[in-house]
């Protein structure tokens, strides 16, 4: 007699549950990316990349400036007293040579933009009144830079709250230091780096009261408090650029919106972002489900939630395949049933 071999189907369920446990144990994380990780892994500080300055044509000439302005202190001979003096360089006047040679303007001579009179020391006092070029002074109407749409950026900027409130006091330089500015959104393939780079520009003033005070007498801004309505605040700040919610882009040609809106007009509706991209929608779905449960209790959370993963399962191909299979089954059944009736 052959021994009968049976498969106990209860094992299937046990294996299935084990698989779920393994999947959950495998790289388990319900947070897209921790804020701390986002900062530390994506921020490549200029100090980490050292540049060989000598490769630049004007490095030697510029070195005359950098020997004082490239560090936190400088030394000069006081001819009146006949001794060497060590002085502290004002923070605002320090330009890191490394940052400069990584920037877009790295091939420039300092005296391309600054007066040649700076070559004398001590610098003549009148030079403090020197005109500081704005971006458009060089880039306006230049065919070589047409792809960057400087004119469009300027038009947006003129309508921004920065320009409207502070007029000419607020220049391109407030956000883009010409000594260190490096094109980012267009060239950086690491989106996290771009987010940190762009947000740092905003936070340089909006979270640094000393810089903020330059233009306003308003009380110290508290970004954490003013964004306390925003769920998962840290995660948003690490994953989204400030300008996504605080600017209105008037054209697709510029990657960075420059029409900064008054705070009352900033995007506050979650669905503005969490509606088209499935990943974004998924995170909103998680948040909503938790919120409904915490506010209304588990039972009401289950019965009153009016959301499912909208869009996530709306796979057009799968829908079509399922409809074809269903139609096939119905036709097959119809055919079989008709034959049964006829052959009865």
């Amino acid at each position: 007699m052959t021994r009968e071999i049976y498969l106990r189907p209860s094992w299937l369920v046990i294996v299935l549950l084990l698989l779920v446990v393994i999947l959950f144990a495998f790289d388990y994380s319900t947070e897209p990316l921790k804020y701390e990780n986002a900062r530390t892994t994506s921020r490549i500080t200029p100090e980490e990349i050292t540049v060989d300055h000598s490769q630049f044509p004007n490095a030697e000439v510029n070195q005359k400036c950098f020997q004082c302005h490239g560090q936190s202190k400088y030394t000069y001979e006081n001819t009146e007293q006949g001794r060497m003096v060590n002085e502290r360089m004002y923070t605002e006047l320090i330009i890191s040579p490394n940052d400069f040679y990584l920037s877009n303007h790295r091939s420039f001579k300092c005296t391309d933009c600054h007066s040649e009179e700076y070559e004398t020391f001590p610098h003549p006092g009148i030079l403090r009144m020197e005109y500081k070029y704005s971006c458009l002074d060089c880039h306006e109407g230049d065919e070589n830079y047409a792809q960057f749409h400087f004119e469009q950026i300027d038009a947006e900027f003129m309508e921004s709250v920065h320009s409207q409130k502070h007029s000419e006091e607020f220049t391109c330089w407030m956000c883009h230091n010409p000594h260190t500015y490096k094109i980012n959104a267009r060239t950086n393939e690491n989106i996290r780096e771009t987010i940190v780079y762009d947000n740092t520009i905003c936070l340089d003033c909006h979270s640094d009261f000393r810089r903020f005070q330059l233009l306003t007498d308003r009380e110290r801004p508290n970004l954490i408090k003013s964004h306390d309505w925003l769920p998962n605040q840290e995660l948003h700040i690490a994953s989204v650029r400030c300008i996504e919610c605080h600017t209105e882009r008037t054209a697709d040609s510029t990657l960075v919106g420059h029409k900064v809106l008054p705070k009352e007009l900033a995007v506050k509706n979650c669905k503005e972002c969490h509606s088209s991209k499935p990943e974004l929608l998924a995170s909103l779905y998680k948040y909503e489900a938790q919120e409904v449960r915490s506010m209304d209790g588990i039972f009401r959370g289950i019965t009153t939630s009016d959301s499912v993963v909208i869009g996530a399962s709306r796979n057009q191909t799968l829908n079509i395949i399922s409809l074809i299979l269903f139609a096939g089954a119905v036709i097959g059944i119809g055919f079989h049933a008709t034959l049964r009736i006829l052959k009865k």
């Binding site: 009968e4 189907p9 999947l23 998924a282 399962s313 089954a329 049964r340």
Partner: protein, 206 residues
Amino acid sequence: MTQERLYLYPIWIRFWHLVNALLCLLLIITGISMQFSAPAVALVRFDTAVAIHNIAGIILTINYVIFFIGNLFTYNGKQYQIEYRDLTKRLMAQGKYYAFGIFKGEQPPFPITRDNKFNPLQRFSYVFIMYLFVPVVFISGWALLYPETIPTTILGTSGLHLTDLFHILSGFIISFFMVIHIYFCTIGKNPGANFKSILNGYHEPH
């Protein structure tokens, strides 16, 4: 030869089956309504469909536990054990009967007995539905009820998306099974005989 009526479905199986059938119908209707929902035309109003689907899903899980424990500790569990020996041959024989034999008035190759109440095709499909796809559908369903428990990424893809996909796919397979299951239930002594059996517990032989 007339066989005697067989008492095949004890009261707990009939209760479980009835609840399971009604819940599956509710879940399929509300599931389809949500899957293909459009603001203008909805089979069931969206929020109502979500609420019904969630509650029915929870009861389905509880009902499944009854089924699972019942099969673990009663004789009924043996009906769901698949015998490997000649499995393909037996499946083919039953398939051949449904495809050709039935129209020639042949007798079913695997007559229903107390020890063998499912034919090989039934046994095979019931095992896959009840022990694979139903667990997948309710495990993924519970995960979607508590989406924060779902890993953000599973094997490099969105965890929520994957869970949802498993839910939809297994839901579809169960719906597909249900249509075929209901049709095949009309193959009996008369088209209504098997439906009567699952309600009163007695199988009427052909």
